[in-house]
Structures are given as C-alpha cells and as structure tokens.
C-alpha cells in the first residue's frame, strides 16, 4: 500500500460540504451545501484523491452524496469527478454513485438527474424521509 494517500476528513460548515474518504473501503462521501470561498482548493483535493485511487487501485469506488445547494464552481467540480468515474468505467472499472436527497425537495433530485445524464455507470438518486 505504498501508493495510498491520506484520507480526507473535512468538516463541513454552512457554506462548505463535509467530505470523508475511505481508501480501504473504496468510498467517498460528501454532505451539505457547497458554496465555499475556496472552491477550487477544496475540490482539487477531492479530484486528486479520486484520480489517485482510480489509477493505483483496481478495487471498486463508490460515492455517497447528500449534497443540497451547489454553486457554479461546485457544479463544475462534480462534473469533473463524474467524468473521471465515466472514464474509469469505460475501461472496465466498477464505479457507482448514490445521491441521497430530502424527499420534501424533489428539485434536488431533478438536478442530480441532470448530472447523471452523461453517466453510464450505476447512479442512484434516492429519497430520504425527513432530514437527509
């Protein structure tokens, strides 16, 4: 495991999503609103982690998302991440996304569905009762 990089455990706040990665489990999770000041700085770490995992490991990668509001640069970052997964999937890798949303806010599901448009790997959009 010499190629393993340290896992992310970034606490969220009002404007920034909480982010946790688990290299061993092949899992990346993000929750909350995302309109941080240092959007590129924040997501560069995440993109770097995903890229590194996909290039060093052969194991599956699963994303657990419970993102609510995204500003434009966060939307861009998520599109980049989904593209990385698509590239990996095209080479036969096992990747998947599960996007949880508050069942009372159907519009989040519609936006998640727009993201899913270009993804051919398993991409579930799951309603959660009450607070996600």
């Amino acid at each position: 495991m010499t190629n393993m990089i340290s896992d992310l455990d970034i606490p969220g706040n009002q404007s920034s999503p909480a982010i946790q990665s688990d290299w061993q489990a092949g899992r990346l999770a993000m929750q909350g609103d995302s309109y941080p000041e240092n959007s590129y700085e924040l997501f560069d770490q995440v993109i770097h982690w995903v890229r590194h995992f996909l290039s060093t490991e052969q194991r599956p990668l699963h994303l657990e998302l419970a993102l609510v509001y995204l500003n434009t640069s966060s939307v861009k970052a998520m599109m980049d991440i989904f593209d990385l997964l698509e590239e990996a999937f095209a080479t036969g890798r096992e990747v998947s996304v599960d996007w949880h949303y508050d069942a009372r806010n159907e519009r989040i599901a519609e936006l998640a569905d727009e993201f899913r448009e270009d993804c051919s790997y398993p991409f579930a959009i799951t309603p959660v009762k009450g607070e996600p």
């Binding site: 995204l70 939307v75 519009r107 727009e114 270009d118």
Partner: protein, 260 residues
C-alpha cells in the same frame, strides 16, 4: 495523358528499345535515356502525391479532433450553465418561501405582526392617514377548551377567509395574536371606518363551522383608532387596544372607538 494511354506508350517504347532490329539505330540511346528519365520522374511525382495526401489526412484528422473537443467543451459548458441555473432558481424560490414565512402566519396565511408593522411605519413616514381596528373573537378560549384546539384552528381559518373576502383590496388584515386581528384601513377616517367594521362584524358573526352535530359561531369585539399625524404607529395601536378593552368591558360583541 490518360493512365491507360501512358501505359500503352511506355510499353510500346520498351518493346522498341528491347527489339534487336533497332539495336543499331542512332536514336536508340537517346530514347533509352529519355525513357529512363521519364520513369524516374514518374516515380518522384507519385511519392510527392503520397506525401501530400498523408499531410492532408493528418491535417483533417487534427481538425476533426479540435472540432470534437470544441463540441464536447461546448456541451459541458451548456450542461454546467443549465445545472447552475437550476440551483440558482432553487435558491431564489427558497428565499421567496423564507420571505413568505417571515411575513405571514402559517395557520391563516395572513400577514403577521412584522409585516403590518413595517407597512404602518411606511404609512407614518409618508404622512398618510389611516384608521386601525383591533378585532378579537369573544370567548375564543371557551371554544378551544370545550372543543379542542383543532376546532379552534378551523374556526380561525374560517373567520380569516371571510375577513379576506370582505375587505377592500387596499386594506390589510394581519393576525396580531392568538385570536386577535389588526385591520389597517388606509386613507380612511374614523367615521368611514365604523360602518366598515360593523359590516365586517356582522359577516363574521354569520360564519359557522360544524363539529360533530354542533354548529359553532362567534361574536367579535372591536376597538378603533384613527392615526394622528406625528404619533408613532405604536401609539395608534395602543389606542385601538384601549378601545378594544373598553368594548370587552362594556359586554363584548360591539365596536368602540378611541377618541380621547
């Protein structure tokens, strides 16, 4: 020259050069050289064409790659804008809902204290005249106690519906407290306001709701005060409140004005 004609000519020349009967011909060596040079040149031209074709192919492939990249980036850009617009619309709607929630009462959907206070302050600043009516449902506590809060809430909603449909478009009615409503009659003096409020009280007394086999209706007490130029709106409200208290003390189900 057509390729077939050229091939025929070259083959004819080759035959002539190879034929022993022309071996001694003085033109033969010159023709031999000419034939040789032609064949070499022909080969050169063919190589040139091949190279040129390969360059053209490369250039075309490069253009296609650029074009595909451009279209891909355009498509991504559009997707980004579309999703981003979606989130922006979501935020706008959320703001609108928050604004509605911060200015309206959730049960009756009437403007709340905050909203009517802002409106009153604006009227005072614009030095515009108005009369206030503070309405209170008589013995409302009894209804809540005897029939439960859900019946009380239903009654409030029914009263509110009649209030809203009976008022003029430019009047404003807010839920002031539990069973209290504050009516703002803009550009209206006390003499004009009294018949309006009396008519309203009569309409509200006709409102009935059913619970089990019982029909419930209520009476309304009201206190009126006309805004005096220069006084803050809180003072006008206080005088309406005093008039309402007087109406309650005088036996309820009546409308009194504060003129002190």
């Amino acid at each position: 020259m057509k390729t077939r004609d050229e091939e025929a000519l070259l083959s004819h020349i080759a035959t002539l050069l190879g034929s022993p009967e022309h071996a001694g011909n003085p033109l033969r060596d010159a023709l031999q050289d000419l034939y040789q040079q032609h064949c070499e040149q022909r080969e050169q031209v063919q190589r040139l064409i091949n190279i040129s074709d390969r360059y053209q192919l490369l250039a075309m492939e490069a253009r296609q790659v650029t074009q595909a990249r451009y279209e891909d980036s355009l498509r991504r850009q559009r997707k980004l804008s579309r999703i981003s617009d979606g989130y922006q619309a979501l935020m706008r709607d959320r703001n609108r809902a928050l604004h509605q929630a911060s200015t309206h009462d959730p049960l009756t959907d009437l403007p709340n204290r905050r909203m009517i206070s802002e409106r009153l302050e604006a009227l005072v600043n614009e030095r515009r005249g108005f009369t206030l009516a503070l309405l209170d449902i008589d013995h409302f506590k009894l209804i809540n106690d005897c029939h439960g809060h859900d019946v009380g809430d239903r009654l409030l909603v029914a009263i509110t519906r009649t209030l809203s449909t009976t008022l003029r478009d430019y009047d404003l009615c807010a839920r002031w407290g539990g069973e209290e409503f504050l009516l703002l009659l803009a550009n209206t003096d006390l003499d004009e306001a009294q018949p309006i409020v009396e008519r309203l009280r009569a309409c509200l007394a006709d409102v009935t709701i059913c619970t089990g086999d019982q029909k419930l209706s209520v009476t309304i007490s009201a206190g009126l005060s006309q805004h005096r130029f220069g006084e803050p709106h809180q003072a006008t409200i206080k005088r309406a409140d005093q008039a309402l208290l007087d109406a309650k003390r005088a036996g309820r189900n009546r409308c009194l004005s504060n003129i002190s």
